[in-house]
């Protein structure tokens, strides 16, 4: 296939196994996000793809060519670091021009490319600025321009928005997506933030403890987490175990209608965002409100059901939500709300 292909990558540091058999592909022009908690091996993976580190086992292919033994500077991959790693002794222009220079472009081409790249990231007149004088957002854009300038076959971004404040991050996220798409850039984007991954990527690879936990489009992953880890990581915490008997799940918090294909002992998720208070559901959950937090577009209710605490998100407009201490009756449709993991 054309593009990046990883097969069964392994890497250990002493007793710590950072990667345990990672395999996935990134097609040309595709943006793939690697999503996972810190310490799951994301950065190690980028280092290995870039060639900064050697895998213990497994291989990396680009257009079906094995990259083993190709030194990092000859792979034609770009990497944008979490802390940007801008060269403090060079100004903005020199930073951006570095890649093309190393690639041996001629002066005119370099000049033109630097200008393009700076316009692309919205900093057209920043060329002569000292990098130390830039704000965090500006540094981030310069780093992006620098990684884009040599036209890498693959651009890897390591938590590029991690240290920015929320507003700035949201804005840059949109711009970043636009820039990547406009240039048709193949990209591998590493983050721990699901929102970033979902809004940017064509496909998401969720990683856990050095292994791939799930691969899919953002919608697919969010709608149908493959396992309790992915569900929890996406903030879906109402996870319980039960036994299926005659179309019913018997669980410590009560009985629920079982999905069609459920048999034996199962783990299931009660999705928090599919319940209502309008009495229209085909089933009901009864509980005691423990806490209520206003979250802008929705309200988060902590509800005790059979001595277990569950979380539900309800629209904050429309109906008055009960106070803590009040009893509550939640409507839901088992097909939407009860998911097997």
């Amino acid at each position: 296939m054309s593009g990046l292909s990883l097969t069964d990558l392994h890497k250990s540091f002493g007793p710590t196994q950072a990667l345990r058999g990672i395999s996935f592909d990134v097609a040309e022009g595709e943006i793939v996000a690697v999503l996972g908690p810190s310490g799951c091996g994301k950065s190690t993976l980028l280092g290995i793809i870039a060639g900064l580190e050697e895998p213990d086992a497994g291989a990396i292919f680009w257009d079906d060519r094995n990259l083993a033994g190709v030194p990092p500077h000859k792979r034609g991959f770009g990497l944008m670091f979490q802390d940007y790693a801008l060269f403090p002794h060079k100004n903005v222009r020199e930073n951006v021009a570095f890649g093309p220079q190393m690639a041996g472009w001629n002066e005119a081409a370099i000049r033109q490319r630097v200008e393009e790249a700076l316009i692309l990231v919205g900093l057209p007149d920043y060329g002569e600025r000292d990098v130390a004088s830039l704000s965090g957002g500006e540094q981030q854009r310069v780093a992006l321009a620098r990684s884009l300038a040599p036209r890498p076959r693959l651009l890897m971004l390591d938590e590029p928005l991690g240290s920015l404040d929320r507003t700035l991050r949201d804005r840059l996220l949109v711009e970043l997506r636009e820039i990547l798409q406009r240039t048709g850039q193949t990209a591998l984007y590493v983050t721990h933030d699901q929102e970033e991954a979902f809004s940017l990527a064509d496909r998401v690879v969720v990683m856990n403890q050095g292994q791939v936990a799930q691969i899919g489009t953002p919608q697919a992953v969010y709608r149908q987490p493959a396992n309790p880890f992915v569900a929890r990581f996406l903030g879906l915490n109402n996870i319980f175990q039960g036994e299926v008997h005659a179309g019913q799940i018997r669980s410590p918090i009560g009985d629920f209608p079982a999905p069609k294909d459920a048999v034996g002992t199962i783990t299931f998720l009660i999705r928090p965002d599919t319940v209502r208070l309008d009495g229209s559901g085909s089933a009901q959950l009864k509980g005691l409100v423990l806490a209520r937090t206003f979250r802008g577009g929705f309200c988060r209710l902590e509800i005790e059901i059979a001595s277990h605490s569950l979380v539900f998100d309800l629209p904050s407009t429309g109906i008055d939500l009960p106070q803590p201490g009040a009893n509550i009756l939640l409507d839901y449709d088992p097909r939407d709300t009860i998911q097997l993991l």
């Binding site: 060639g51 900064l52 990092p72 770009g78 790693a85 060269f87 060079k90 570095f98 190393m102 690639a103």
Partner: protein, 568 residues
């Protein structure tokens, strides 16, 4: 892990080989040869040294004067460090540079400076005698304990200013403010917050000052006079005057083991200040002088530093420009006139002597040796600094780091004899090699070079190298475009240190230089050891030129220094 040790070992190879050949081997040779001359066995001299009352007195005095000197140096240096750390004012770089000049000046020049200022007919005594119509000079300075202490403060204050000042300038001042909001008064802030945070830098600076004071030689001999002797002076005396080489060797070994203990401690402490708490950039820690109190403090501090650290050298420069006839009369009644005669004479070799080369060409010799020292010290210092910067706490680095400092605390007389004995026969026949001088200078400059380079190298995060690599830079290009430019300024600082130290070094040079190639300090010494006004005047003029070189060097260091934590 294993691999990293091997890399360290490889990096240390050249510096270690150098130390082994040019330090440990000569030192070992002379100590063993000296001790083997003892008729009562190798241990007898040690027993003698420990049992002797006079040796005990010498050791007591050595420690006592070093403690006192260190204390006084801190007393002047700490407020000075505070001024440099917390305030930004015009001429600060110049002030730092000027306070660094004494550090590299040879003792005999400094002694001439002090006598021009405070001698019986120095500027101050003459002025006082005229002002109050006194028959005799009121200030007796030379040959007193005070002279020793003042000279030590003069030499070493810059260490405190630099080490503590740099560290202090990166400490977050908000910590103090936080303490104030928690109800601490200014004194409590200093006592409970600032000083504890500064303590590694203060201890390291104090220890380094103590090492220099502990091994003091020229200052004691020339300014202290015959009533005072440190261990180093006693070694000289036992070696040269009494030829009791076994006892001298025992004393050398004693001094060396003390120094080693201190350098180990120093390496630990300086490791702490190079990787300190979360440091702040200077912009956030330095303010302008706003209130009259701040201005008054700054004014007083600058004046005090300038008076103590520059007036002796200025007095010397002044005297080199005045006719000496004026001080002939004990009343000092003839006003001295200005003259450039001594400077004009510097280019002339009146006696057409082969060795009595013109003082100006001695400067040429000094510059040549200094350049060789720079090259040698950098070639050896770079890999050592590299090893230290990758992991200071690795077992190998922990062992080797203190060794670098050791030559600074070794008796020059002993080592000088060792050089001649050990390096005089094939395959290492360096008897008449002009390389001996830069080699000896490199031993002295080495620790300073390493300590200027290490923090800069530590500041290059591996990420920058990675960033360059993934942008397509080959390993060679990474060095050229990332490492060298960033370490470049530190390299310049290190080079300037090596250069300036070499220019001013006298002790080792006088024992090793070839007679037809005297350095400037050696030429000064030769001029000073002959009677006659022109000789004395030329010595002063040449000293002044040497001072100018040192000042320019120190200014260059200020200019190139990266605003990072310096280690000295």
């Amino acid at each position: 892990m294993r691999n990293k040790h091997n890399v360290h070992l490889l990096l240390w190879l050249a510096p270690l080989a150098f130390l082994a050949v040019f330090y440990f081997y000569p030192l070992g040779s002379i100590l063993s040869l000296s001790l083997s001359r003892s008729e009562a066995g190798i241990l007898a001299p040690f027993v003698e040294a420990v049992a002797s009352d006079s040796v005990r007195r010498v050791i007591d005095f050595t420690i006592w004067q070093a403690l006192l000197s260190t204390l006084l140096t801190l007393l002047l240096g700490l407020p000075g460090a505070y001024l440099l750390a917390r305030y930004d004012f015009r001429g600060k770089g110049l002030l730092r540079a000027l306070t660094g000049v004494p550090f590299v000046m040879p003792t005999l020049v400094v002694a001439a400076g002090f006598s021009a200022l405070l001698g019986s007919h120095g500027w101050i005594n003459v002025a006082l005698m005229r002002l109050f119509d006194l028959p005799n000079p009121p200030i007796q300075f030379l040959n007193t304990l005070a002279a020793i202490l003042v000279a030590h403060v003069f030499y070493n204050t810059t260490i405190v200013l630099r080490m503590v000042g740099d560290f202090w300038s990166h400490l977050d001042p908000r910590l103090g403010k936080a303490a104030q909001t928690l109800g601490a008064n200014r004194w409590q802030v200093l006592h409970k917050v600032t000083l504890p945070l500064l303590s590694p830098a203060i201890y390291a600076a104090a220890l380094l000052v103590f090492i220099f004071d502990f091994t003091s030689f020229g200052v004691i001999l020339v300014l202290g006079g015959p009533h005072f002797a440190t261990l180093e002076v006693e070694i000289y005396y036992q070696t040269i005057s009494l030829f009791d080489l076994p006892l001298a060797a025992a004393l050398s070994a004693l001094q060396l083991s003390c120094t080693l203990g201190m350098t180990i401690l120093y390496a630990r402490l300086s490791g702490k200040i190079s990787l300190p708490l979360k440091l702040q950039s200077r912009k956030h820690t330095q303010g302008r002088l706003i209130t009259w109190r701040q201005r008054l403090f700054a004014l007083g501090m600058v004046a005090l530093l300038l008076i103590i650290l520059t007036t002796p050298l200025l007095a010397l420069a002044g005297r080199s420009l005045t006719t000496l006839g004026g001080i002939d009369s004990p009343e000092g009644s003839i006003a001295p006139g200005l003259t450039l005669a001594f400077y004009r004479e510097l280019g002339i070799n009146r006696q057409e002597s082969l060795f009595y080369v013109t003082p100006l060409s001695a400067i040429g010799v000094s510059l040549t040796y200094a350049s060789a020292t720079v090259i040698l010290a950098l070639i050896l210092g770079l890999p050592a600094a590299w090893a230290l910067s990758t992991d200071r706490k690795s077992p190998l680095n922990r062992i080797l780091d203190p060794l670098l400092m050791l030559p600074l605390g070794t008796s020059a007389v002993t080592l000088g004899l060792g050089f001649i004995i050990a390096l005089a026969h094939p395959p290492l026949d360096l008897r008449a090699s002009p390389l001996l001088v830069p080699i000896a200078h490199t031993l002295v400059a080495f620790p300073f070079v390493v300590r200027s380079l290490t923090p800069a190298m530590q500041s290059i995060q591996p990420r920058l190298r990675h960033a360059a690599t993934v942008l397509g830079a080959s390993p060679r290009q990474v060095i050229r475009h990332v490492d060298l430019p960033i370490v470049g300024r530190a390299l310049l600082v290190a080079a300037t240190f090596a250069f300036t130290i070499s220019i001013g070094e006298f002790g080792a040079t006088s024992l090793l230089s070839r007679p037809e190639f005297p350095t400037a300090p050696v030429a000064i010494y030769r001029l000073l050891s002959r009677p006659g006004a022109m000789n004395y005047g030329q010595a002063l003029a040449l000293s002044t030129i040497l001072m100018a070189f040192a000042a320019v060097g120190m200014l260059a260091i200020e200019r190139f220094r990266i605003a990072e934590v310096g280690e000295f």
